[in-house]
């Protein structure tokens, strides 16, 4: 009985209890996300803070941190605008305009807007299948907005300052996975495409960059002091390079190789 109190009074109590709590916490965190009990995780982290004797400090740090966050981020503390409602309204207005245009062409030309497009194309006009271009926030040192868009997701990248004229941004995709974040941008002009892909790894799991090529037409290049590999074949051009857990891939199709080199050399 007395040995229990001896243990409790000594520093061994905190040390042993911290180990126990840590083990319980690790066991809970080792479970797949869907199976975790986050209420229990919160309980255990609170217990850990109490046993580590820094609970008061942490409470003060939390208050200060929240105040700093409100200062750093303008949206903090303010009601966010209803973006979804705005998009729905825009989509609704576009739909009304489209139907109105169709109604006009039916009455004026005795055919629907959609068949008008087909008629024109049959008479020899080319049909442009390029999707509507996307718009990103640009600046003088980020003329295509790629760096800014990546920064919004916490990824610092080297972005091109040159893309041949006529290419428009047609798609952008962001993925937030456990082992990495990735963001890609696709530019298109007719049947020519340029893509910029960035993958930020969380940790080095030994994954190596894969370069798709049938032969060994590879050259080593220098991208701002970092070694990269370029593959050129069959009208395709691919650049891959790594910089501190960030993988960058630039890929083009049906674009003159000299233009591709120019794009790659413009990465900053």
């Amino acid at each position: 009985m007395k040995e229990n109190y001896a243990h409790l009074i000594s520093d061994r109590f905190e040390q042993d209890s911290l180990r126990e709590v840590e083990a319980l916490l690790d066991a809970e965190l080792a479970k797949p996300e869907k199976e975790r009990n986050y209420d229990k995780i919160e309980e255990l982290t609170d217990a850990y803070a109490c046993l580590a004797a820094n609970e008061e400090q942490l409470e003060k740090a939390a208050e200060q941190g929240w105040a700093d966050l409100q200062e750093k981020h303008p949206r903090a503390g303010k009601t966010r605008p209803a973006v979804r409602m705005r998009l729905m309204l825009t989509a609704g207005i576009a739909a009304v305009l489209l139907f109105a245009a169709n109604a006009f062409t039916v009455s004026a030309l005795d055919m629907s807007l959609y068949s008008v497009i087909v008629k024109i194309s049959n008479e020899g006009f080319s049909v442009d299948f390029t999707p509507d271009p996307l718009e990103l926030e640009t600046s003088p040192d980020d003329p295509y907005g790629i760096r800014t868009a990546c920064a919004e997701h916490g990824i610092e990248v080297e972005a091109p300052t040159y893309i041949p004229e006529g290419f428009v941004l047609v798609n952008m995709d962001y993925s937030d996975l456990t082992s990495w974040d990735s963001i890609c941008f696709w530019f298109q002009k007719g049947d020519r495409t340029i893509s910029f892909g960035y993958r930020k790894y969380v940790y080095n799991d030994g994954t190596t960059a894969q370069i798709p090529c049938d032969d060994f037409n590879l050259t080593e290049v220098d991208i701002n002091g970092k070694p990269g590999i370029v593959s050129k074949e069959d009208g395709q051009y691919t650049l891959v390079y790594m910089d501190d857990m960030l993988e960058t891939i630039v890929a083009t199709t049906h674009l003159d190789y000299d233009e591709c080199d120019k794009i790659v050399n413009s990465l900053k």
């Binding site: 409790l8 986050y38 229990k40 109490c50 580590a52 820094n54 966050l69 009601t79 997701h153």
Partner: protein, 153 residues
């Protein structure tokens, strides 16, 4: 000023994520503060791609793991060798020191040291696991104070 739902969620979760980061960073509160700030700034940046009607905690803990790992890669933690603390010698301690504890507290101490499964003990006592550890820490504080007072006499 009326707080948004988002701000309410963040204010609730901030202390938990801070404590979690502190635990992962071996008690370094300053580093934990930096990492926690980064997690929530990231949340604001990615808010448009998250479904805030669902539990945000999986995303928060996942992000906290990522941020802490990135921090530790740049600032590796020194290897600490914990000296094994000594157990107190109670042979000269008067029994009166233990009188400061209530019957309930004595029973809790007995239960705490009788079983390994602390979760089970907490459930039997009708308290949370956190409450169990916190209460034991308070009991310890009480005993230490009583011990110090008895040494002064």
């Amino acid at each position: 000023m009326k707080k948004s739902v988002l701000d309410t969620i963040i204010q609730e979760q901030y202390p938990h994520i801070l404590k979690y980061c502190c635990k992962c960073l071996h008690g370094d509160i300053h580093a934990a503060q930096d990492c926690t700030q980064e997690v929530f700034l990231l949340l604001y940046r990615k808010i448009h791609s998250l479904d805030m009607t669902k539990d945000i905690r999986p995303w928060l803990y996942r992000s906290a793991d990522r941020v802490v790992k990135a921090y530790l890669r740049k600032n590796p933690a020194p290897i600490e060798t914990d000296a094994e603390p000594e157990t107190a010698d109670l042979t000269d301690i008067p029994e009166s020191v233990f009188d400061v504890l209530s019957q309930e507290e004595r029973e809790l101490v007995d239960a705490y040291y009788s079983k390994e499964d602390k979760q089970q003990i907490a459930e039997e006592k009708g308290i949370t696991l956190q409450s169990l550890y916190v209460t034991m820490a308070r009991i310890k504080k009480k005993l230490r104070k009583a011990l110090d007072d008895s040494n002064k006499i």
